[in-house]
């Protein structure tokens, strides 16, 4: 360790009025896992995306092994020995596993203009076996595999050619525990081979455990690079946000009695291939946590409760007996839903903040709409949620993950919804915004609203829920009541 591999000098990038990365200079060594941390919008992803040729930089240079590199695109970056595993899906549907692995690098299998598919499949299968993913078939179409497996395939795709730099951008939030373990195993292997892993994560425990050095960005500025052994989680948080965080992160109360009044009940709810006769009751003023492995059906459960599932059987009814069979009825009866798939299902991504906030509330504003009133409405709730923005006419596609989620929540708070279904509410979101969201949920609970929180994070379930329901294979497999003695293990036990 210690030998310089990549030197970034005065890297700069603006998006319109947002100065995303400000003159950042950083050094990465051979044989290290170098974590890059910071709040949402601090410029981590923008920085690595420039390194990988996804964005072009406004200024600065990257020097890799003494040679200046300017990747034009991801494939070009690969040729320079730089690879990335991204936060969202990075594989292409409709192609086979092998085609995905060698995407953009098929040349090695082409002789006299003809691609030798058999050789490519064989090579891909060898790689998969080598990585310990032999259950994945190289010739199968990638759509046959779930989100988790596709991430594993991405690991192969990004690292089989022994790149000098591998960027792991917020990948762990998408993976369950076993997937994470696989990823870490390969990160450590890459490090031991003398390459460098640039590791972006919001999970500070993970960061401290696996990285050698940690660099912190804040609002596009470089703050510091420190050895992982010299800091603890609280110090990192302080460096990230630039001020002390309160002690309270999750709610701290225990043993509060939850009302017996049922506001939403699911009876015998089934969705083919997803849910199997689920029964559930949500009470007034309750935070009901739903946990499980990512394909246990809990995400579909949120949709089913919101009347958004196709092919659902069984009944979903409100406290007063109103059946919920479509999204419109749900919204009209004060229900709200924030999807795990924020960019496609929660937000109209190519639209303004204002339109996104006002959409479901327009029906309450009468037949005639005043532009001024709508702007005031959007401003009021965007400010209430402290969305970082230039103004409400800004498009949501340019916002960071945490800010996007704030817009989603602002919409439903504006609508005044009483039953909130929040699927992975803090997915890919930094500590500060997380704390805000937890605080908000706690306040809602006290106001007598009911929250159905679906989460893949066990700590979040333990910290926030009045009651926790664990699911496995589309069925409810366990239920727990809020208690300081409840352990992670007992939940995990019901998940697998």
């Amino acid at each position: 360790m210690g030998e310089l591999l990549l030197k970034a000098e005065n890297i700069d990038k603006s998006f319109g009025l947002t100065h995303a990365v400000k003159n950042v200079s950083l050094e990465f060594n051979k044989g290290e896992i170098h974590a890059l941390i910071g709040e949402n919008g601090s410029g981590k992803s923008t920085f690595t995306n420039m390194l990988c040729g996804i964005y072009t930089m406004d200024g600065g240079t990257f020097t890799l092994d003494g040679e200046e590199v300017h990747p034009k695109n991801q494939v070009d970056a690969n040729h320079h020995g730089i690879a990335i595993i991204v936060q969202e899906l990075g594989t292409l549907s409709g192609l086979t596993v092998a085609e995905n692995i060698f995407l953009g690098n098929e040349d090695q299998f082409i002789k006299f203009g003809i691609k030798n598919t058999a050789a490519m499949n064989k090579k891909a299968q060898e790689l998969l076996n080598e990585y310990g993913f032999s259950r994945i078939s190289a010739t199968a179409v990638i759509d046959n595999y779930n989100f988790e497996d596709r991430k594993l395939i991405e690991i192969v795709k990004a690292t089989y050619f022994h790149p000098k730099i591998v960027v792991v951008d917020e990948t762990t939030t998408a993976l369950n525990q076993s997937g994470r373990d696989e990823l870490f195993k390969h990160m450590l292997r890459i490090r031991d081979e003398g390459s460098c892993v640039i590791f972006i994560s919001h999970d500070l425990g993970e960061v401290l455990h696996y990285s050698d050095r940690i660099s912190i960005l804040r609002d596009g500025d470089f703050i510091a690079t420190i050895n992982a052994d010299d800091v603890n989680e609280d110090e990192l948080k302080r460096l990230m946000v630039g001020r002390e965080l309160g002690d309270r992160y999750y709610r701290t109360d225990y043993g509060e009695k939850v009302s017996d009044e049922v506001v939403l009940s699911l009876k015998d709810v089934s969705v083919p291939g997803e849910l199997d006769h689920v029964n559930l009751e949500l009470h007034k003023g309750e935070i009901l946590g739903i946990g499980g492995l990512s394909d246990c059906g809990m995400h579909e459960l949120g949709k089913a409760a919101f009347g958004a599932s196709y092919d659902r059987t069984g009944t979903v009814t409100l406290g007063d007996g109103t059946p919920i069979n479509d999204i419109n009825t749900a919204i009209n009866h004060s229900m709200a839903y924030a999807s795990k798939d924020r960019d496609n299902e929660s937000l109209v991504i190519n639209d303004t903040i204002q339109d996104n906030i006002t959409l479901p509330s327009m029906r309450d504003m009468g037949f005639l709409l005043s532009g001024k009133k709508m702007k005031e409405f959007a401003n009021k709730y965007a400010k209430m949620m402290s969305v970082k923005m230039v103004n409400v006419d800004q498009f949501v596609s340019n916002l960071s993950g945490g800010n996007k989620q704030k817009v989603v929540l602002a919409r439903w708070i504006g609508k005044g919804s009483d039953i909130l279904i929040l699927d992975s509410p803090t997915r890919g979101i930094d500590v500060m915004v997380k704390a805000d969201i937890y605080d908000l949920m706690d306040r809602m609970r006290k106001e007598g609203k009911a929250v159905l929180m679906i989460s893949e994070e066990i700590m979040e379930l333990l910290g926030m829920s009045d009651r926790i329901v664990i699911m496995r294979d589309g069925k409810v497999s366990g239920e727990f009541t809020r208690s300081p003695d409840l352990s992670e293990e007992s939940l995990i036990d019901k998940m697998v």
């Binding site: 603006s14 998006f15 319109g16 009025l17 947002t18 919101f306 958004a308 999204i327 419109n328 749900a330 919204i331 009209n332 839903y337 999807s339 496609n344 299902e345 929660s346 937000l347 109209v348 991504i349 190519n350 639209d351 303004t352 339109d355 996104n356 006002t358 959409l359 479901p360 327009m362 029906r363 037949f367 005639l368 709409l369 005043s370 532009g371 498009f395 596609s397 340019n398 919409r411």
Partner: protein, 310 residues
């Protein structure tokens, strides 16, 4: 995104600037003939039908859909209007609107219920309805009652066009309709999760677009007085060019503006009239129009958020 902000301002300004540029250019090239009052009056008289028909397609395109059937649909509804005008003028208007609405419902049914891309559905409808027009006019053109041309005065036609546009503007700007259509264009799935009745809205917009063109057929009948087998031919292309020239994003969505219709129709009409006055052949005019269209699409395409047209 510094670029992008500039780009969106350009999008707002360029159509208007283009309109001024085209007027000034042709005023110079035609030595002022294009802007003399007689010609302006003539030019204006050609915009009524186009502007009204554009409005329906504007709603459709806001949702990120397309409609190529409007030309043939105009032909068919115009036959209905002309035929019924011999019985009663009021009945003719209603008949045109109802016929247009029904044909629009066919578009809507196949696109929304049967989930076939609008591009395919409306293209098929274009050919099918063109066949209907040709069949019904085989022996002779369908004539409207001769007194219908009494209505062909500027005050009447201009007023009626402005009233129709004003109604459309009102719904687009001051009710939730506009925001809903734009949201569907910008992200259909999310729009559904925000409680917009996507299917119902789409279907009704296709019905409305047909009905609006059915009304435009009445305006056309006043002006032309009869329908031949080419009635309404290529209107769909004119509409598309006009809207895009007016600054309408081809994939619809949040950047759609109602003013795109008015600016676009005027720009298109000045352009075509100017080309005619300069003595270009029809073939040359089409070539030039095609090139201008391509340039405008090139300038305006939002390549960063490009999406498949539904």
């Amino acid at each position: 995104m510094k670029n992008k902000i500039n780009r969106s301002t350009i999008r707002e300004i360029l159509p208007v600037a283009g309109l001024v540029f085209v007027i000034v250019l042709f005023a110079i090239l035609t030595e002022g003939r294009i802007v003399n009052p007689t010609n302006l009056k003539l030019l204006l008289s050609q915009t009524y039908m186009l502007a009204i028909a554009c409005m329906g397609v504007f709603f459709v395109m806001s949702m990120g859909c397309l409609d190529f059937s409007q030309g043939s649909l105009m032909g068919v509804t115009c036959i209905v209007v002309c035929y019924l005008s011999n019985i009663n003028l009021f009945l003719a208007i209603i008949g045109g609107i109802v016929a247009g609405g029904l044909l629009g419902a066919v578009n809507g049914y196949f696109h929304v219920v049967r989930k076939i891309p609008s591009f395919i559905v409306t293209n098929c409808m274009m050919y099918a309805l063109r066949g209907v027009v040709a069949y019904l006019t085989t022996k002779s053109p369908v004539y409207a009652v001769s007194t219908i041309s009494n209505l062909n005065t500027m005050p009447f036609m201009l007023t009626i066009t402005l009233v129709v546009l004003a109604i459309g503007f009102f719904f687009y700007k001051f009710t939730s309709l506009g925001a809903n259509l734009k949201a569907i264009g910008a992200g259909e799935k999310a729009a559904r999760f925000a409680g917009i009745k996507v299917e119902k809205t789409k279907f009704l917009v296709y019905v409305a677009a047909g009905a609006i063109t059915g009304f435009a057929a009445f305006i056309n009948a006043i002006k032309v007085g009869s329908v031949t087998s080419t009635g309404g031919n290529q209107l769909e292309t004119q509409i598309l060019i006009a809207l895009v020239l007016g600054g309408m994003p081809i994939s619809g969505g949040a950047k759609s503006r109602f003013t795109n219709i008015i600016v676009g129709v005027l720009l298109y009409k000045f352009l075509t009239t100017g080309l005619v006055m300069l003595g270009f052949t029809t073939a040359m005019q089409q070539l030039i129009q095609g090139i201008v269209f391509l340039i405008v699409v090139f300038l305006f395409s939002d390549r960063e958020s490009i999406q498949v047209i539904k």
